[in-house]
């Protein structure tokens, strides 16, 4: 069985939490005691109906305010697939939490309220989906029950959104009219939407192809940790522990260590005490090399073909996630996989207007939730790929060394 990670996004009150509640409820993934707890909580509400949204809002402050502040992860499965849902906040203030949930997603469901059509958050979340290169997008036009299940309204939203999808270069977009509250087209086909002959939401989630999303061509092995037992019988053992983030490694392969450019050969690939002839993304293994060379955490073992770039100056698209603004010249730690390098943001080239997608050149600074293009200079060379080509080796974070907080997500160009 395989695994699909997806995220739900959209504006506040577009019904994300209700949608997830409905998905779990209709696919029979809610257990009796959870349902009883929901009923208990829903009693305080005026209409008395079970509020499926309460299933995901986990924090006291969220229940008090009726909004989602941080990502909640939910798990469910059908006979076809296992699912990890990131239920992301819709409020603009919490966009950084939405990005946290989106960064590992294979698919994003963007909810649009049928009454309001495309909104600012629709654009913002679509830009994030595009920046993060989430491979699959579902536009779920929700609350169709409140617009009399009108096909015209659905079609107009579809036309509006297609424009955004084109300008953002979103690869795979599916449009579905739904009502999360009434359960239309979530798991079961809707009688009220008989004019729609496409798939239900669960159909798409169960059948979308994800196996092509792992890159098996460009071999990348960031070293996380070095295993040295230093016992009598394993006196000279040096194992490089890490996760193959892309590509395939075979015993005997010629390798290059970056950024040092040392050459060697793979002596053995081990996992769980067994030797393997080959290993592939995204397995966590131990590599031993023929030669005793200097390798430390943060180095990358690659093969002769399809090498990454190794540079000190990076052009990045960056989402700023801190309350304090980003000013050109500020210094941060840049972390890409297991490698951490001191770096400086040299220049903020432009800021993206999320409504018009226009580029505003030479902004004075970047504030919370701004998306900018920037130049970063690192203190030492970094092996990387363009995020567009290889997600697993093109994403980096910036860490403020004075507060230790993660302040930016960088997509290297």
């Amino acid at each position: 069985m395989d695994l699909l990670r997806f995220i739900t996004a959209g504006s506040v009150d577009d019904g994300k939490s209700t949608l997830i509640g409905r998905l779990l409820f209709d696919s029979k993934n809610i257990l009796v005691d959870q349902l009883e707890a929901l009923e208990r909580q829903s009693k305080n509400r005026e209409d008395g109906e079970i509020d499926l949204a309460l299933l995901t809002d986990g924090l006291r402050a969220e229940r008090e305010q009726g909004i989602t502040i941080d990502v909640a992860y939910k798990y469910f499965s059908t006979p076809k697939r296992k699912f990890i849902i990131a239920d992301a906040p819709g409020h603009i203030q919490y966009t950084r939490n939405m990005i946290t949930g989106a960064s590992n997603a294979d698919l994003i469901i963007i909810l649009i309220d049928a009454r309001n059509g495309v909104a600012e958050q629709t654009r913002r979340h679509s830009i994030i989906a595009s920046l993060l290169k989430i491979p699959h997008v579902i536009i779920a036009v929700n609350k169709m029950d409140l617009v009399n299940y009108s096909q015209d309204i659905f079609n107009n939203i579809l036309i509006d959104y297609a424009e955004i999808a084109r300008s953002l270069d979103l690869p795979d977009v599916t449009y579905i009219p739904i009502s999360a509250l009434k359960g239309d087209n979530i798991v079961d086909r809707s009688l009220s939407l008989s004019w729609y002959d496409g798939q239900t939401l669960l159909d798409v989630l169960e059948n979308v192809r994800v196996e092509n999303d792992v890159n098996l061509t460009d071999a990348r092995f960031p070293v996380q940790y070095i295993i040295r037992p230093q016992t009598d019988e394993l006196h000279d053992y040096r194992g490089y522990a890490g996760k193959i983030i892309s590509g395939i490694y075979k015993k005997g392969d010629e390798i290059i260590v970056l950024p040092s450019l040392f050459n060697s050969k793979i002596k053995s690939i081990e996992f769980g005490g067994k030797e393997l002839n080959e290993a592939f993304a995204t397995q966590s293994v131990i590599l031993q090399l023929e030669d005793d060379i200097d390798i430390s955490r943060g180095d990358m073992i690659v093969k002769n073909d399809h090498q990454p770039r190794v540079e000190q100056e990076l052009n990045v698209l960056l989402c700023w996630m801190d309350n304090k603004p980003l000013v050109a010249g500020n210094k941060y730690l840049l972390q890409i996989n297991s490698r951490r390098v001191r770096s400086s943001v040299k220049e903020i080239e432009f800021k993206l207007d999320v409504n018009t997608l226009e580029k505003n050149y030479d902004p004075a600074q970047a504030s919370l939730n701004d998306i900018v293009k920037a130049k970063i200079k690192a203190a030492s060379p970094i092996p990387f790929d363009s995020y567009k080509e290889l997600r697993a080796n093109g994403g980096a974070i910036l860490i403020d060394e004075t507060s230790n907080v993660t302040v930016a997500a960088c997509m290297i160009q």
Partner: protein, 302 residues
């Protein structure tokens, strides 16, 4: 053509190993919090895969409430012995004495809250900068919100409204002195995933997970083991039942379920058919309020 696709258990396993190695790579003095339950036993199994043939870069640490199932304690000692890794045990009993803590009273007086004091003292004693735990996001609503690297202040407190962004598989474990990070490598596993993995990897578990006969009393629909740690009232009827434990916590706050499941296979069948969640069925301590876990976490609990 070789198949280059990982099945979901392989993916979860690789993710957990990657997280364990990030802890080893980023911290000076980590620890693995070990309770003797199936989730922490799974963590130990994953750590063996992450670090063998080397030693663990951390000790196993058990915060002993004094209310544990004897079977779980025996299992703990045997496991640590078998794998030859260091085990640190710190007792809530000692914290109660030295810090003059007040024990909760009542029928099922639980030391669950007091555990936090011993945990924080232990972190201070060994200067642990990272504590690995077996919490899963599917267990409970507050846990569903927590990051994999969860930063705690010097009082162990979690601030759910101010969590660091956590992107891709890049973990930021940078902290100030005195702070620590709680790390949850099996965040994304469900109860069913754990059992399927235990079956696949043939992982040994304490006997109380399997059906056995036990003296219990019935309390508000839950079966609680008769032990020295709970107060028996005149109205309580001691029943002999065939039970097993779905989770292993303290004897005072973990309920048994009636079951004849004596193999992993039986257990998987049973939980697949169940209509109640793991914590809902077996934890007496979560029902206090809707935010019971959130409040405990804010105060330094795991």
């Amino acid at each position: 053509m070789t198949n280059h696709q990982l099945d979901y258990l392989d993916q979860l396993e690789s993710e957990a190993i990657h997280i364990l190695r990030e802890v080893a790579g980023q911290f000076e003095r980590p620890a693995l919090l070990f309770s003797g339950g199936k989730d922490s036993i799974t963590l130990v199994h994953l750590a063996l895969k992450a670090f063998r043939p080397g030693k663990f870069p951390f000790p196993l640490v058990h915060i002993d409430t004094g209310h544990n199932f004897p079977e779980a304690l025996d299992f703990r000692d045997e496991l640590a012995n078998k794998i030859g890794e260091k085990l640190v045990v710190r007792k809530v009993e000692d914290t109660i004495k030295t810090k003059h803590l007040t024990e909760p009273k009542g029928k099922f007086a639980s030391r669950n809250q007091l555990q936090t004091y011993t945990l924080l003292d232990t972190i201070e004693e060994f200067e642990f900068d990272a504590c690995i735990g077996g919490a899963r996001r599917d267990e409970e609503k507050a846990r569903a919100k927590e990051r994999i690297f969860s930063v705690r202040d010097e009082f162990g407190q979690w601030d759910p409204k101010l969590q660091r962004p956590e992107l891709w598989n890049i973990y930021n474990g940078k902290i100030q002195k005195g702070e620590n990070v709680r790390v949850f490598p099996i965040s994304n596993w469900t109860e069913a995933d754990i059992w399927n993995y235990i079956r696949r990897e043939d992982i040994a578990l304490p006997s109380i997970y399997f059906s056995h006969e036990r003296d219990v009393i019935e309390h508000e629909g839950q079966l609680v083991a008769v032990s020295d740690f709970i107060r028996l009232d005149e109205t309580d009827q001691i029943l002999k039942k065939k039970v097993r434990y779905r989770t292993v916590g303290d004897m005072t706050c973990t309920a048994a379920v009636e079951s004849s499941a004596s193999t992993i296979e039986d257990i998987i069948k049973e939980i697949t058919a169940t209509k109640t969640s793991e914590r809902g069925e077996t934890r007496i301590d979560d029902k206090v309020s809707e935010a019971a876990m959130e409040d405990r976490k804010k105060n330094g609990y795991f």
